[in-house]
Amino acid sequence: MGLETKGIYTVHEFTLAVKSTLTTGQFNDVWIRGEISNYTNHSSGHRYFTIKDKNSQLACIMFKWHGRNLRFEPEHGMKVLVLGDIDVYEQRGVYQLKVRDMRPDGIGELYKAYEQLKNKLAMEGLFSPDHKKPLPVFPTKIGVATSPTGAVLHDILTVLKRRYPVNILFIPTLVQGESASQSIVSSIEALNRTDVDVIILGRGGGSIEDLWAFNEEIVARAIFNSRIPIISAVGHETDYTICDFVADVRAPTPSAAAEIAVPERQELANQINRLRDRLIENEKRYLSDRQAHISELRSSVDARLLLERVAQYMQYVDELAQNQISSFRRLMEIKQALLIAHAGKLDALSPLGTLSRGYCITLKLPHKTLVRSVADIEISDEISILVKDGKIRCEVNDKEECKWK
């Protein structure tokens, strides 16, 4: 075959020709499994690496705008699934895969990615207890974000109904598959625009792949940024997702989440009854205290006691009176004795004493004036002579002045 028949390409023309052949569609939108090597996260934000298997290798580029959605940080040696389109890098004439998405391949890799994100978010402080919001004690409305199908919603509603019937705002949420993480994020954001006071984010058990949405960074950040406290209840007791670490409270199962979210009605009823008993007890004691106080006061104004006191006073008065009487008597006795003594003296001086000794007293009639001297009377005057036992009426016959001494 001569040069003429096929023509001659320039390098560029050839490269473009190859490129157009390769990029027609057959190698677009393909998933390829391989192991990462020569990984470079360039300062431009684009990622350059190779994926390889035992026999071949494939150059890959992931542009910044695709890398933004990466759910983990690729590492050398990591087994991955990449989604991309074939491309030819014209300057170098090499074909390469323009990677649009990348996933860890296999459980081991998923765990690696999980550990990676967990460490990163832990470093950022997203799991810190300081950021945990307290749950309301008595929620009035609970937001539930979970799948509309499956047992989770039913379990949660059943437990809530039994324990503490409350208003529930349910938001149907995809919890598995491609769009699950986005659905969870928008559910959390939507519930944050409502008046719910706590959110339960739930999903039944499953493999790490099934639960993967709950290990994604955008979901973790949405939980962290939620104004409303979130209880995560993802998988079974033993499954821990990144969500569980970021959430304000982690519940082992959806039913447990419902139990955590509300108090138990019976327990509340008991609490109210205890309060009622305390109320009654306290009021009773208050009243009996007052009663005691009143009795105390009353006893101090008790009528019997008053009478008794009066009686005592009366006795005292009597006593005083008695004393007074006897004092008076004694006084009288003294006076009397004095009187007698004085009377004796008087007696001695009395004219009657003179009479009893045989003398007499002469009184001139009619005026009974005492006759002391012959000059006091005239002849024929009538006189009365007083003697010890009577009086003698006489007429003066004669008088004579004598010198007795």
Binding site: F138, T140, P165, F170, A190, I272, L275, R276, Y286
Partner: protein, 73 residues
């Protein structure tokens, strides 16, 4: 405005405490007691009458709406 269950419960505890301290006039204490018993009754009624009401949240072009949601038993 009606008190929430939580507020009622807190109020009730406050009343029980006040009565316990006992530094009140008789009228005050009787009034508090009466209020307390009323709150007990309200709380119990609320608890007894509490009903589960489930709504579903719908997102539509960035708007959020809610509608009653029937749960199959």
């Amino acid at each position: 405005m009606e008190m929430s269950f939580e507020e009622s419960l807190i109020e009730l505890e406050g009343i029980a405490d006040k009565l316990e301290k006992g530094q009140l006039s008789l009228d005050e204490s009787l009034l508090l007691f009466e209020n307390g018993i009323k709150l007990v009754r309200e709380c119990n009624t609320k608890l007894k009458n509490a009903k589960q009401n489930v709504e579903r949240l719908i997102l539509e072009n960035g708007d959020i709406k809610s509608e009653p949601f029937d749960v199959e038993e």
